[in-house]
Symmetry: C2
Subunit: 452 residues, 2 copies
């Protein structure tokens, strides 16, 4: 019987935005009124399977990503899944090393490239009826190594070292998979959003504790005095046994960061997240040295634009927690490289979640890491935020403070059709009647930035 | 008499592409068949003045930048030039710190933001009938400092240090301006493009020497043996007194870079340009240490995505030549910060030129640096490439190996209307009849990448 190859027949790119700024959800000192949004990619095939991926954004700019994905889809429509699955690095290179597009650098270009790569992995996993994490753990070590672009990272992790790490886990793979099929990666959650009152924070903590959470995060940055009070409040509320992290979202310069963080020493914090600019490797090295004797470590990565930035943060031991994002770099191939580098240095992979559907994606990376790369669950925390799970047909589940291991094939990123219809930008019901000043770059908020 | 404020009334964004790949002009190991292109921004006003800026690209992706600029123009149409010229940092922050768009990171977003900033500076300079360089050198030191976003760089250069550097130059400003009005920044040129035969390289050198050039660059990267032969050939052709530089366009990983560069020691090279990835600060530090005793230094910056990357390369003394680009970062404000940081560390500013109209822009930065910041012309070389000067109404001129100081108001970036008409993508005469495979992301070239 002839094997009919699965071929990409068309692509649809959809700009969806949710007016989350109505409730000031997810705000931080820089992202004052985010509207959680996604550039959604649907790759249709001749086999009835659909490859899905998303790029999360915070409102304006989603159309920039959609524009890029639309252009890149020229490279994928008409190709076969077999060609991709035989050697995913080939598509990765066609995108990232495109002889003209590479001039566009990271940011929009790398994120759009990741959308293509991730949708193809989704399709591949669906074609073999596996959730993405299961597809990944079943790959041979050499195959994983062949997915990675070694050019700019092999001074820190060689192909051979990566294979050795993966091979070392092979003997415990089945046992770890079995353990994690009943209890997925341990989760943590932000309870201390900017703008919430103490009472609201306390209520959030109690609700999370009732669901088994014992690790909580707090947004800081603007006002040192208020931040310290709030850290103390949260520490008192959760007790000394629970983990507490703070997140500054890059709000400080290096001197400000040192000054603020110096006051955080007494509170038994686990990590300080994004104290300074996402690309300031030497700044992170200096912070790590200045606070080498503190309880806490430093965490970053959700906005690190390339594996090269992660490489430097890891090789220098400047960060103690590696916060991969699912859609900031160029998809599965880049994330594989980053998770393997973190494993070499024994740095826990603590993925960035939230937004729209990021948690749906990162749970797969958490599982791959904890089964097949780090091979344990002793140190990792995977971010969980319960926003907008009504958007997707396979919502993330958390039981007893841990992700429930997903079973749907692929990423499990299928959106509820009605949700897409209502939130399409700018013509969905949610947006058609809104004020024009809420649309695109024109949506500004008053400038209140000043260093305290 | 009433002063009628100059107001931006409309914006036009034009995608122009030149099929330079027909002649393989400007190719390097990564950018195999570049089509030199520009996202051109025209800001029209109620005063008949037009603010112009360009973002150079190499073909596909120009539409990505145009899309971004078009979105950002919502922030500028309807505003007044006075508002901008009073405090340029305000517009810079509205763009770069936009509470939703900043999620897009560097790359397309920062380049598009730079287009807006640069067009406003163009308009400002035209409104006072000065070339851009003259506008810049006439700014008070405090005003320059107020143009800069200090958040992420003040650990390396403070506002006060920047003002002190600029103030120190004030006493020699008039003399330097007078000296440079007759003889602009010293130029250098690439003679050794990949794909040129030895005879063609020799002919290029002789032609350049006839125009007073004594500093030449050669593209390297792919084949170590061939590269060394070509370096030797060029050194023999130009003699020991002339400067010779090589450019690897980020083709190597760190280990490859060391191996290749080790063979370059005997040739009295001035610099090795972009040996490794644009964001690998620790890699540059390691290279600088490994070759501390060599004649040559390291150069990079044309693809450094933010002032923070420049900060680290300069503070660590990893680069000995600072290659600012006119359109990679967010316009004049970012470049001011970078040039001032370079001045603090005594690193010569050697801007990246070529493409379409980059030389027309960088000559202004070279003049500002050499008159008002470094205050001398002893160590800087400003790249010059004579491509496509027929595109602009004020072509760059070079006499005796030096730029002729421009006198046209603003950047002098006015395009010849017929050039724009013919090269508009995809509907200009040059493109309408071309093969669809030459269009956008679909324009691929066979993959020949392999490490030699």
């Amino acid at each position: 019987m002839m094997h009919q190859p699965i071929t990409i027949t068309s692509a649809e790119i959809i700009d969806i935005r949710v007016p989350t700024s109505d409730q000031r959800l997810g705000s931080d000192p820089f992202h004052k009124q985010p509207d959680y949004s996604s550039a959604v990619l649907h790759l249709e095939t001749n086999a009835g399977l659909r490859g899905v991926s998303v790029v999360f954004t915070v409102g304006a700019g989603t159309d920039w990503i959609c524009h890029g994905i639309r252009d890149l889809c020229q490279l994928i429509v008409g190709t076969s899944l077999d060609d991709f699955a035989t050697a995913p690095i080939k598509l990765y290179r066609r995108l990232i090393d495109h002889h003209q597009l590479r001039w566009l650098h990271d940011g929009v270009f790398r994120m759009a490239s990741g959308a293509i790569v991730n949708a193809m992995f989704d399709l591949w996993a669906k074609s073999v009826d596996k959730p993405l994490w299961k597809l990944l753990i079943d790959l041979e070590p050499e195959f994983v190594a062949d997915c990675i672009d070694w050019r700019n990272i092999s001074d820190v992790l060689t192909r051979e070292e990566a294979i050795a790490i993966l091979q070392e886990r092979q003997s415990s793979l089945q046992q770890r998979e079995s353990e994690m099929s009943t209890r997925g990666p341990k989760a943590y959650c932000t309870a201390g959003w900017l703008g919430l009152s103490d009472d609201e924070i306390l209520a959030t903590i109690r609700k999370l504790q009732a669901h088994g959470f014992d690790s909580f995060k707090l947004k800081v940055g603007r006002d040192s005095e208020e931040d310290v009070q709030r850290i103390r409040f949260m520490r008192d509320a959760i007790g000394s046994e629970c983990k507490l992290m703070v997140d500054a979202n890059q709000y400080w310069g290096l001197a400000d960061a040192k000054r603020h963080i110096e006051r955080y020493r007494p509170f038994g914090l686990t990590w300080i997240e994004e104290p300074i600019a996402r690309d300031d490797v030497l700044g992170y090295i200096e912070l790590a040295a200045a606070f080498a004797d503190a309880d806490f470590g430093f965490a970053c990565g959700e906005q690190a634009a390339s594996p090269v930035i992660f490489k430097q943060l890891l090789q220098s031991r400047a960060i103690q927690y590696c916060q991969i994002d699912a859609v900031r770099v160029a998809g599965v191939n880049d994330v594989m490289a980053i998770v393997l580098m973190a494993a070499k240095y024994g740095v826990p992979v603590c993925p960035h979640g939230g937004g729209i559907a990021l948690c749906n994606m990162i749970q797969h990376y958490g599982l791959w890491d904890q089964i097949a790369v780090a091979g344990h669950s002793d140190t990792q925390l995977v971010e969980y935020i319960d926003f907008l799970q009504e958007a997707v047909e396979h919502p993330v589940e958390v039981h007893n403070g841990c992700y429930a291991t997903p079973t749907a094939p692929g990423w499990g990123l299928e959106f509820v059709p009605d949700f897409i219809q209502r939130h399409r930008f700018p013509d969905g019901d949610v947006w058609r009647t809104r004020d024009a000043t809420r649309k695109g770059a024109a949506f500004e908020v008053p400038d209140e930035t000043s260093h305290d």
